[in-house]
Structure formats: C-alpha cells, structure tokens
C-alpha cells in the first residue's frame, strides 16, 4: 500500500500530461505515417501483446527478487 501511495501520484500526473498532448497534435499528411493503422487497424492488439510480454518479464524479475531475498534471509544478510 505504501508503494502505491508513492507511485500513484506520479502515474496520474504522467497520464494527465499525456492527455494534454494528444489534444494538440497537428498532422502533416505529406509524410507517410501509420495513421491509417491507428484509425481502423488493430495496432492496439500489438501494443497490448508487447505489454503482456513485458508484464511477464516484470513478474519474472519480481520472483527472482523474492528468491534472492529468501536466500539472504536464510544466510541472515541484512
């Protein structure tokens, strides 16, 4: 809970800042970008898949963390 209290304000402020920037995009149509993909394509699926993969990596890191912590506790390293 303590962790959430520290991180949550930061996340919220980042989100608010980013919403502000979405509102003021100016689009130059002469440069080819993947704008079409964003309109109706399923690029979001790719983003979510990448996020899921990263979530897996993060969980793995946290598990490794707790495993090392357990061994430290056994050996009584502060």
């Amino acid at each position: 809970m303590n962790i959430m209290k520290k991180v949550f304000p930061l996340l919220l402020s980042l989100l608010i800042l980013s919403i502000n920037t979405i509102a003021q995009t100016t689009v130059d149509t002469t440069v080819p970008m993947a704008d079409k993909l964003r309109e109706d394509g399923k690029i979001w699926v790719v983003v979510v898949v990448i996020a899921v993969v990263f979530a897996g990596i993060a969980i793995n890191m946290l598990r490794l963390e707790s495993k090392v912590g357990k061994i430290e506790k056994e050996l009584k390293i502060k």
């Binding site: 991180v7 996340l11 920037t21 440069v31 790719v46 990263f54 979530a55 993060a58 090392v68 390293i77």
Partner: protein, 228 residues
Amino acid sequence: MRKMWWKILCIALLFYVIFMGLMGPVPHLPILNESIRNTYFHVALWLAMTTLLFASMVYSLMYLRSSNPKHDDIASELAKSGLFYGILGCLSGSVWANFTWGDPWPNDPKLNGAAVGILIYLAYLLLRSSFEDEQRRARIASVYNVFAFAVFVPLIYILPRLTDSLHPGSGGNSTFGSYDMNNDLRMVFYPAIIGWILLGLWFAELRVRIKRINRLREEEFIQTSKPL
C-alpha cells in the same frame, strides 16, 4: 529493509513507455517516419548506459578511497549492466540504421566510437578475471574503470561531433534538442530514460546480492573446513 518502490516505479514507467511510445503522438518527419519512436528505446538505452557507467566509475572512486570490497562489487556489476545496454544499443541501432540509412553498419564515427567503447569495457571484465588476489583485482580494476569512463565519453559524445556523422548533433546536422525533439517526444523520452536506468540498476542490484551470498558461502566453507 530493501526498498521496493523504485522497482515498482521502473515497471510502471516502462509500461507507460510501451503504451505511449507506440501509440502516442510523434512529429511527422521524412525518412524517419514512424521509426522516430525508436528514440524511446534505442536512444534512451544509450543514455541509460552512460548513466550506469558513470555510476560505476563513482563506485570505483569510492572503492579507491575506502578499500571496501562492497564498493568494488557494485562498480563491476554496474559496468556489466551498462555493457549489456551498450550491446543492446548497438544491435538495435543496427536495425534502425538498416532501414533509415540503408546500411546496418555505416562507417559513422559514432558507431565506431561506441564499438571501441564497448571493447574498452570488455577489456575491463577481462582484466578483472585475470587476477587471483581479490584486493589487487579490485584496486587495479577500479583504476582502469575510472580511465575507461574518461575515454568513453569523448569517444561517443565528443569526437563524433567534431567530424561528419549521421547522428543528430554532428557535422552540420542539427542537435536533437533544436528541432527534431518536440514536447510530444519529451513526454515519453524522459520517463523512458529513467525507466531504463532503473531496470539497469535492478539487474546490477540482483547480481551484487548474488555475489554477496556467494562470498558469505565461501567464508562459511573456509571456516567449517579449517579444523580438518
């Protein structure tokens, strides 16, 4: 008590970078097109690596002052995670260069400088592994590490700017800050740098802890085997 909050922050920032980095608004630039988004991954990785190597140098200096083996452990593991980022940066840069500059390894002074820098740090690891005596290893490696960083910064940040380079900020190319970088990019770029730095620190921290466990085990082994 081990602090957990920065690890949670690291994960949160990297999630933010993945979502906003891939879907957020970016400037429409010719040649780069959507690949401008690599800024959040490739460029941020290099800056994170420089920070890690700088931290490694600071710990080496602290070791030279204190002779505390703990400082040397931290310095070497920070250098390792910096080197890991450097190799990732080279590989990701090759992919990006292949599609925007038309060559996976154009003979750009910045690329060659980075390659030399990585070799310098590989030599650091080699130097470490070539000593049996722990104290000597720590001392000589620390001195080497300080000089390595002092050579590394000119190699990848100063020398490429003095000649023609494809990277921004060199030989008539405008710097990143002057016109390529706009506020949309900054909004993700700075959190990205912090996120990658924290991830690198996390790798280093885990490795330092494992090293410490191993050292303790070795000491116990010596103590228990003495009576025999």
